[in-house]
Symmetry: C2
Subunit: 200 residues, 2 copies
Amino acid sequence: MTRGQQGGRAAQAEARRAAIIDAATTLIAERGYQGTSLAAVADRVGLTPAGVLHYFPSKDALLSGVLEARDRWDFAAFVGRLTDARLTHLEQIVEYNAERPDLVQAFTVLAGESVTEDHPAREFFTERYAKARADFAALLRAEFGDHLPGGLTPERAAPLLLAVMDGLQVQWLLARDDIDLAAACRDFVSLLSPTQREQT
Amino acid sequence: MTRGQQGGRAAQAEARRAAIIDAATTLIAERGYQGTSLAAVADRVGLTPAGVLHYFPSKDALLSGVLEARDRWDFAAFVGRLTDARLTHLEQIVEYNAERPDLVQAFTVLAGESVTEDHPAREFFTERYAKARADFAALLRAEFGDHLPGGLTPERAAPLLLAVMDGLQVQWLLARDDIDLAAACRDFVSLLSPTQREQT
DNA sequence: GTCTATAATAAGATAGAC
DNA sequence: GTCTATCTTATTATAGAC
């Protein structure tokens, strides 16, 4: 039974790593990256700080693991399906995010921290946003063509779309009863849609 | 000369407090609130940590001072002139903010941190956003009336406007060469404007 | 693979000298 | 009003036992 349902030793180590990343993500959501200690992560997975450092050689390496896990999730949920991407699909992601406030909170906190100097997540978010702007521009062009309301182009609207999604998350996390994440996102898309304007 | 150009002892104490708040704001921008130590603040104003604690009895009290100073600035710049507020005025504020990336960065970091549990700035940002949504809705109604593009009302557009301004700041701080804060803000306003749609 | 033990810093805050 | 000195606690990370 040493090679049970989880497979061999390597697979067990992978499961441990995943559990540590999970715990770290939750704690980052609750206390931020700077506010998260290795001791707290270790407690959550039933290890000591030294035990955690066996899987991730430093706290920064653990953060990298958290960010990479998010990237894999994003890829599976969105970028991997970009060939058939539609704005409705983007709205589905928003709805799915609304079911995972812990994940949204972790990455809202990290994005905020990332603008500080020499933050270990700064490069990650810089590249992530640049890529998101390019992806969103392509999405908007596929959906609406070259000419958007207000005389905007997809390239000029893309940062706005990204900003709205990000900014709404902050407001939602601070006032979940007042903000409907998915509905507000749809509201913004309706501003971009040439066909739906002036509806009552 | 003991009562020189700065006034009496009370005024000198106020000047000290202001200098400490200034230093703290800069350091929060550079390293976040959790990453800012009293020792670093003290260094910047030529005091020891104990000296700083003479003016602010705790680190949290110092943060409150930073937030109150921002509130006073906001009031002078925006809320205090709400009677004659126009969207063009809001755009002037964005342009002014673009000249003060340090302030923008400090409050972007703090807003991100504030969504964590028991953060000392959480209540501040919760109330600030709620008030901003109400103010923006009134502003949009005064400017455009009850009916906005996409079938939106001022109340539904206000959180979007707030989200765009916030989200653009994050993108701008991470890629100042790629994002034109004021221009992007105007782009969004043009989406809300009933008269300017479909311009080329 | 996980631990104990410990190193090496650093934090916020207090007491009391000056 | 500001300092020195100190308390107390927490941090990341390493070395080496088991």
